[in-house]
Structures are given as C-alpha cells and as structure tokens.
C-alpha cells in the first residue's frame, strides 16, 4: 500500500504532515521522499549517514562511423536534445535528454547506442533502528526528475512494512504524476486560504485524471466551516483530518519539533487515519 502525501504548492505543511504520519506509524510504515529537487524529510527525521546509490539512465551515444547525418533522430526528439552540427556531426545534450530511448530505436543506421549517465542519487537510512527513510535526490540541472522518483519508489525496502508513505513533489507537472501513478491513495494537504484552495483544486483535477482515490488533510484549519472544509463538503470530497490553527504548533514546528511533539494525542489520530485508509482500500479491493 502506497500513500502519497501531496499539496499543490509549498508551504502547506506537507512534509511536516508526512513525517508525523510515518513517525506515528513507524511499526508499519516507511517513507520515501519524492521531492527530489529539494528533499527535506531527512531534516526533520535526522538519523545516521545514509547509504548512497547512483541513479543511472540511458542516453544516446553516437557512433560517428555509422551516422550519415540523416537527421531522423533530430526530428524525432521532442526535447531538442540532439543537433546536427554540420561537418561536426551529431551532438547530444545530456542535460536536455529525457531518457526516452526513442532516437536509439528509430535511427535507420543503428548509429546510436545506450550509454549510462548519472541523474541523481538515492539515499537510504534507518532511523532509531525501525524507521526507514529513502530520499531521492536529483542531480542539479538534470531534467530527469521522474526517473529519480521512480527509482526511489522502486528501491527494495530494507524493513518489512505494509505501508509506504510517498512525500510527493510540489506542483502538478510530470514529477508529481510520476509519484502519483505509483500511489494507491493520495492525501492532499491544504490550508484554508484562497491560494490553498486554488492549488488544491488543481491537484484534485490532476489526480482525478489518474483515477486515484484521495482525501484531504486541512492544515491550520479554522474549524469545520473554514474555506477548505466548505469547499470539500460542497464538492463531496472526503476530509481525512483537520489540524487546528495554533500559534504553539507553528512555533514548535519552526523549532524543528514534529507534530507529535507539538500536539498531544495526534499520534493516535494519525494511526486511526492510516487504519481508515487501509480499510477502505481493503473493501475496494475485495468489493
């Protein structure tokens, strides 16, 4: 069971929430930080030095003897990662290549082969002996965020846990989609501001296109009649949890404390939340 924790934009407390969710369920959940451009779950979780692995992808390598400069690959590449430089032959721009492999397949002269290039890293560690954190980290300037995200999610778990929490990248572009496609359920963290709602609506639209079940977590909630609650009620979206607006919570979090430290009793709520998701999932599968 994979549960993605996402928010249309930054600043809603998404990572704070996913960290709390995994801490409260550490006996049955692990976490994968899929925000590969700016992973930050490790800042909250601490722990030992991680084991680091390189994520490799295949980009085209040209055999100058076979290439006739026909241009078929250049026309094919929708990312403009290939160029014919006159007498200089074919040039590959690894920083623009999205590793689709298409040019290699269509070259009529078999002049292109796959060559490995590094796209980022996966860092794995076990915190306190029982909490596994996997962090995907994109190499600066690499266009292949989805490649690194998929690799981080696919990394073989070190600890046996029934649930994996995916801390999703912000936005609704291809990185977001790569994370969501792997998820069985999505928790959307929002705050009850007009901006929060706008981004929530965009995220929901993207998730519905992928037909993924989702529910909403309202952070800094002003109560059952705040903007986000009313929106969810009107649209018929399930609200999985509300975390009340409070200066103490904000303060505690700004000092690097987790929600578990800041809010007494939230640990049980977060266990109930996971129970509820696992149960709905079970009925969905059997029904």
């Amino acid at each position: 069971m994979k549960i993605a924790v996402a928010s249309g934009k930054g600043g809603t407390g998404k990572t704070t929430f996913s960290v709390a969710l995994v801490l409260a369920n550490r006996d049955r959940a692990r976490i994968v930080d899929c925000d590969v451009e700016e992973p930050n779950a490790h800042l909250f979780l601490g722990g030992p030095e991680p084991v680091v692995e390189t994520v490799r992808a295949s980009i085209p390598v040209v055999d100058g003897d076979l290439c006739t400069a026909c241009g078929a690959c250049v026309d094919f590449c929708q990312y403009n990662a290939l160029a014919l430089a006159g007498s200089g032959g074919l040039l590959v721009f690894p920083e623009l290549c999205h590793d689709c492999g298409g040019c290699i397949r269509i070259c009529p002269n078999n002049a292109l082969t796959e060559g490995p290039v590094s796209r980022g890293t996966i860092e794995t560690k076990i915190i306190g002996g029982d909490l596994e954190l996997v962090t995907g980290r994109l190499e600066v300037g690499s266009p292949s965020a989805p490649t690194v995200i998929r690799a981080a999610i696919a990394r073989a778990p070190l600890l046996e846990r029934e649930t994996t929490i995916l801390d999703a990248p912000p936005g609704t572009a291809c990185s977001f989609a790569a994370c969501m496609l792997a998820a069985d359920h999505c928790l959307l963290v929002t705050d009850p501001t007009p901006f929060g709602l706008h981004d929530l609506a965009l995220a929901i639209e993207a998730i519905r296109e992928m037909s993924k079940p989702f529910s909403v977590v309202i952070n800094r909630s002003l109560g059952p009649d705040d903007l986000a609650s009313v929106f969810c009620r009107d649209q018929g979206y399930a609200v999985a949890m509300r975390i009340a607006e409070s200066r103490e919570i904000a303060q505690a979090c700004s000092q690097g404390k987790t929600l578990l430290d800041a809010i007494p009793g939230i640990g049980q709520d977060l266990r109930d939340l996971l129970d509820a998701i696992l149960e709905t999932r079970a009925t969905e599968v059997s029904g």
Binding site: A81, A83, L84, A85, G86, S87, G88, F93, L96
Partner: protein, 120 residues
Amino acid sequence: MKIAFPVAGSDLSAVLDARFGRAQRFLIVDSDNDTFELLENGSNVDASQGAGIQSAQLVIASGAKALVSSHCGPKAFKVFQVAGIPVLQAPVASIAQLLAKFKAGELEAMTGPDNAGHMG
C-alpha cells in the same frame, strides 16, 4: 561568403534581433554580392527548450559560414563550435551597418557563450 543575422525585419534595413534562439527569422546575406535570402525560424520561437540548438542547426544547414549575433547561449554556441562556424559578436544595429563592419573586419568572434544556460 554567406553570413547569418537573426532579425525581426525582412531586408538589409532590418535590425539585429538580440534573442538569437527566438528570433523571428534569419537573414542569410552573401557578402560577395549583397544578395540575401530569408529563413523563417518557425516553431523555435516558441520552443519550450533547446530553441538555440534548433536555430543553430537551421543556420548551419543554410550554408552560412558565420553568424553575427549580440548574444549566444552555451548550447547553441557548442553546436556552432563543433560545426566550425564562428559567432561574431555585434551590437544591435541595422544589417546594412553590420555588413559594412563585417567587410571591414571589425566584428570579432566570441570565444565562449555569453548567456547563462537556461532550461526554458
């Protein structure tokens, strides 16, 4: 010798377009007899990435042996470098003026790209 100029206009009175990769079109001028042809930069004007690379290929395929431009990004510069085509740096001015400068040998080849790279 054919020389390429990124332009917004369509003849020798046109002014150099400072945005090489996203210029509307290129004026390919034959410096031996001052005739010219126009080359539309087509879809590269709106390309999401690699506009400079595409434009550079267009210029090279036109048979031009030099590009006159006020700026050149790193990727396009690399394509020109590999193709052995100098990028001559020039201020924004009319093509007729720049052509005169070129003939007088007053335009110097850039030794490297002058725009920071960007993914857009």
